[in-house]
């Protein structure tokens, strides 16, 4: 193992990315002895590990979703506090993706590697913002790594939604959102735009909202969408998991307009394919500019790309004179969560 040969001490096997001198994996796909978890989405936070290290928010998410975050023990680490694991120092740094999301800084013998997890640079009232961490090796996500992805201002998309609600007062607006992060961010954006009606939720979204509120994120009046009479939902905004908005669940809603809040909605074919009538480009991932600027700002001499459209990002990285490498981790979903 040589610190300046990154792949001698940070290796990839079928369970994921492994730090040899620290003896732990970051966001492993399979069950392992020790795991550092960047955030609570299910393709990063898997069940079955013996020991888990994460922010207390992420541990709470894992407890809510998996029952128990680890078989033997959990350890909460606050943002910015270093922890020694053997000769390795681990620090969690806000990633701005969802509540509790962190970049993982790993320092060994004077060399710094940062695993970004999923991240975004644009503002999100429901979680602390991304912080740039200078490093030698930056391991980045690449979900939206094509230059056509420029997410724009999320508040403008909320304005579009509210305009449609005013224009079609006799219909419900069923907005597809992922349960952890997107749901709460959209609610917070609606509140910031002055929307103070109750917001109706599919049953699967309630738990994460309660969790956010328990960590001090206020979301206003939320009501279950199952239960009230159809008429009560006329003219209202109803949030539901993407799979529910165009399927049988939505039949309970009065003549719904189907919307979807996702970075993928920037591409027309994606929206049309899913039968979306009102696409809202709101993403919790970095867009092309954020990815490329972040890579430059970290000052890293080498960049590894974990999952997404790595071809384009690697091409860009190489054109800036840095070394780049695709990790091809298994088990990462092509989703904007």
């Amino acid at each position: 193992m040589r610190p300046d040969h990154f792949d001698s001490w940070l290796t990839v096997d079928r369970r994921g990315l492994y730090c040899r001198p620290g003896g732990f994996y970051v966001d492993p796909h399979g069950a392992v002895e020790r795991a550092v978890i960047s955030h609570g989405h299910s393709d990063h936070a898997r069940p079955g590990h013996q020991h888990v290290l994460a922010t207390k928010e992420t541990l709470a998410v894992m407890r809510a979703r998996l029952g128990s975050p680890a078989q033997r023990g959990t350890q909460a680490l606050a943002y910015g506090k270093g922890l020694k694991i053997g000769d390795v120092a681990v620090t969690l740094i806000p990633a701005g993706h969802v509540l509790g999301s962190a970049q993982v800084l790993i320092e060994w013998k004077g060399v710094r590697a940062v695993v970004s997890g999923d991240y975004k640079r644009s503002a999100d009232p429901t979680c602390p913002g991304f912080e740039i961490t200078p490093c030698n090796l930056f391991i980045t996500e690449a979900t939206f790594a094509l230059p056509v992805f420029q997410h724009g201002n999320a508040q403008d998309e909320v304005t579009k939604l509210l305009k449609s609600v005013a224009q079609f007062p006799d219909r419900a607006h069923a907005v597809g959102v992922y349960g952890l992060g997107k749901c709460q961010r959209l609610i917070a954006l609606l509140r910031a735009a002055g929307y103070d009606h109750p917001i109706y939720l599919h049953g699967a979204l309630q738990e994460c909202c309660d969790l956010y509120e328990s960590f001090g994120v206020t979301l206003g009046t939320l009501k279950p969408a199952t239960g009230p009479k159809r008429d009560e939902l006329t003219g209202q905004i109803v949030l539901a998991p993407p799979s529910a908005i165009a399927d049988r669940w939505s039949r309970r809603l009065p003549d719904p307009i189907t919307a979807f809040a996702s970075g993928w909605m920037r591409v027309r074919a994606r929206a049309r394919q899913q039968g979306i009538e009102l696409p809202l480009v709101i993403s919790d991932h970095a867009d092309w500019r954020e990815l490329t600027e972040t890579i430059a700002e970290t000052g890293a001499e080498e960049v590894w790309v974990t999952h997404g459209r790595e071809d384009a990002l690697l091409h860009h990285i190489q054109s800036t004179g840095k070394r780049g490498r695709a990790l091809a981790l298994i088990g990462r979903e092509d989703e904007d969560q």
């Binding site: 056509v148 079609f168 920037r266 039968g275 384009a312």
Partner: protein, 527 residues
Amino acid sequence: MKSFSALLDRLAYTPSRNDKIRLLSDYFANTPDPDRGYALAALTDGLFFRLPLRRILGELIEARVDPVLFGLSRDYVGDTAETIALIWPAEGRGQEPLRLATVVETVQSAHPMEFPSLLTKWLDQLDATERWALLKLLTGALRVGVSARLAKTALAEWSAKPLADIEEVWHGLSPPYLELFAWLSGEGPRPSMEGRAVFRPLMLSHQIEDRELAVIDPADFIAEWKWDGIRVQAAHQAGERRLFSRTGDDISASFPDVVQTLPEGVVLDGELLVMRGYEVAPFNDLQQRVNRKSVTPAMLKSHPAHIRLYDILFEGDEDLRPLPFIERRKRLEAWHQVHAPSRTDVSSIVDFVSIAELEKLWAGARETGIEGLMLKRRDSPYLAGRPKGHWYKWKRAPLLIDAVLMYAQRGSGKRSSYYSDYTFGTWRDGDGGEPELVPVGKSYFGFTDEELKELDRWIRNNTVDSFGPVRQVEPKLVFEVAFDSVHRSTRHKSGVAMRFPRIHRIRWDKPAEEADRLETLTALIVD
């Protein structure tokens, strides 16, 4: 461009006709002149720009975006113009908002040499949705699912003026339609169309019902064959020759052969057909002419158009529409005697004494080119729209076939949670001699809401595979499919294409093996 692009964006994703009308009428209500007039022109195919857009864009993008990244993006997005709109590296901030009218007027008057720099300037200052709308506008094909008819319906909705009145003035006006909007918003008089070759809204018929057929008095009605073509209005007034479709679209350019021979001072109603000698060609042949914006000499020769005349609306300056049908018919025959323009004839009257006799004629009508019978009151004036009790159509009985459901696709809008679009097939012998199903048609109507629920449930329980919004089902359910006719088609695997297929009955009881074979369908081809 902001409100125009927001409108196009919403329209492109909105399947429901009524929702489109609402989006359009809100836009017309809230947008100033002349922008709304240019938007209306763009939506109704009334704007043409001659500029080599592809070449200009290719050169502009090459100078700005790494070709590898552009190629990867283009592959992902699937559409070049959309890729350019999304990838264009610009801020879109800090500038005067660009108006639609500015774009249209500037392009119309600019020298071709100026286009690249103009386009660059605009792409730089617009956001992604506006860039997409700009490129769509300049290509001249918006493709947001709005027909001219729908745009006019929205104008009627917004202004509370009758659609027929709007259609009547439409072709006498041109972008940006200032006179039209002044009238519609109550700030100006109705534009005068006296003596102009403009579209006069057509008189349409109702499907006759059995109980009506039982009570009508044969002495009050005249019968004609209902020809299987396209209903048109041909006009030559004030030096303008025009051919309009039923919905008021100007289709003169596609049919010069019938337009050129029209003498001055007349407005006629008739059926556009392709005729070879005295033979009416199948509807399919006409379809091939309709689909072309400009027509080649070869096409004119192989697919000659013809108008079979039903009615006369104007002769000289005289408006004949208030006259009874029987009087207009005499005027039509007399006019045709005098002028007899080539490529026209007068649709003949079908003599009958009793309804029973007529019923016999109707049942025997299987000849190519005949869709059924028309019954017209002798005393009907020519009334715009579909007035009750005047004209009846009596379509001949549909053809029927038993086909097996193969694939089901999710619907759109209200039906987005239902599998409501069905592809069905008939049997034929496969390569190994085993019977196999080959798709012969697709339909999404003909069934009740109750049946749709049952079908949706059946499909979910009998899915064998799924591809995106499409499910392949076990070949077990038989549909009795009704259709008007069947034609040869090189675009379909089965080699046939059905006209107006609809789900006539769901044969829950019938075993799939007993559904029809492909040969049954090919035997019904009339070519």
